[in-house]
């Protein structure tokens, strides 16, 4: 008997398809189609989510689409995700880019915007009317009186921390919070992050952050979340 290219595992969360990573892609597609039609699911069953694991095989976008197409032909199957152990160098460099801490030493004044890819470490103030933007976390060693926008590409796990927190607005991903209408002095050593249960930004002392939450940089996040 020849080696089997497709292994199906049933879990509580749906099906897991483990695809062989040494055979030719066409053979794999062929067998996938055969296996799925053979195990056709009956009409009344609910939709089943499928996780596809392709091991050490790198698939192009076109090949990935073919895989999805093949699986989707079975009306009851929904592709949740396709995971691979390998990525392109290009992508790895991009991850690295997005996970680096960018050190800046300046005052971001009214009307100025400081935008970085990755985490921002600013040694200096953000004045009222100034804005700092990062795809990762924002750490301000100084007074944050302007606007800070962390996780600008949609990452809700990011945080904003400042030596003196007195911002006019905090934004994390798409969530926005603004300062109260009455004048405030600002709070020393504070940070803001998204409370996922309420989907709004909450403030906390920086010292307590270690207990409630770990600061992941973009690289760790990527690896753990795929």
């Amino acid at each position: 008997m020849t080696k089997q290219f497709v292994t199906i595992k049933g879990t509580r969360d749906g099906l897991t398809l483990i695809l062989d990573d040494t055979c030719a892609f066409e053979d794999l597609l062929g067998e996938l189609e055969r296996v799925l039609t053979a195990n056709d699911i009956e009409g009344d069953e609910p939709m089943v989510t499928v996780t596809v694991k392709i091991g050490n095989r790198y698939v192009t976008q076109k090949q990935e689409d073919q895989l999805r197409e093949t699986i989707r032909k079975q009306k009851k199957l929904v592709v949740e995700e396709i995971t691979s152990n390998v990525i392109l160098k290009e992508k790895a460099l991009q991850w690295k880019e997005e996970s680096e801490v960018r050190l800046h030493q300046k005052i971001v004044r009214s009307g100025q915007v400081l935008e970085v890819t990755g985490d921002l470490l600013l040694v200096g103030d953000v004045n009222p009317g100034g804005k700092v933007v990062a795809s990762g976390n924002i750490f301000v060693m100084g007074n944050l009186r302007g606007i800070a926008h962390a996780g600008v590409k949609g990452n809700k796990d990011t945080i904003i921390a400042a030596s003196l927190m007195a911002p006019s607005q905090l934004r994390i991903a798409e969530v926005i919070s603004r300062s109260p209408d009455h004048d405030t002095e600002g709070v020393p050593m504070e940070c803001g992050y998204i409370d996922t249960s309420k989907d709004q930004i909450v403030m906390d002392q920086l010292a307590r952050l270690a207990k409630t939450r770990s600061i992941m940089n973009a690289f760790e996040r990527r690896v753990s979340h795929g």
Partner: protein, 264 residues
Amino acid sequence: MGEAIVITSGKGGVGKTTTAANLGTSLALLDKKVCLIDTDIGLRNLDVVLGLENRIIYDIVDVIQEKCKLQQALIKDKRFDCLYLLPAAQTSDKTALTAEGMKQMIDELKQDYDYILIDCPAGIEQGYQNAVAGADKAIVVTTPEKSSVRDADRIIGLLEQEEIEPPHLVINRIRNHMMENGDMLAIDDIVQILSIELLGIVADDDEVIKASNHGEPIAFQPNTRASIAYRNIARRILGESVPLMNLEQKEGFFDKVKKALGFR
């Protein structure tokens, strides 16, 4: 070789022109040869504050467009031989002024004058850019109000991109009783936010308005709080170290300052 200093603020009405007129007068009092340039085309008033309005024949646009020589447009002050004004145009097309033209003109003036003070228009558009183009240094004027501090911050950010020395700060129109009550921003807070060197503070004084309505800068008067403040700033520009004026003390303090200055 002289030094060109632009006086700017971003926001209008904080006292740029008053500051320019009084610093020019104070520097002239200290025997420096000073040229004031008004770059607020269409809304000139440095000539009014100095009381020289009736002497204007040519203006800055005429010079740039080479309708007259630079020397012809310069107006000698009626009180000093060492103070001159180059007035702004009132009616001409303001696009006539270019950064390049300003630079050339100021370089020419620097040969003859110790200090060239450039009075900048409000805003951050072309007028501001022209005014800053030829400057070596900048003085940012603000008042203890949030809006003017915000605009000063913006201007400082823009000035930092120019090839000039870090700007210095003048806080104008300080009302001591409001500051004490906390109804106005405190000097320390303003300096902390703007984080540039403080060149001087000027108290709000009715005399300033009176004097400028008479076409006579307050700095001429020997004993008002504002005139002393302006003269102190002028001395700091010359490199002297003069302590900041204590706003709380009244009469006795001024007598001391008078003695220290050795008033004429």
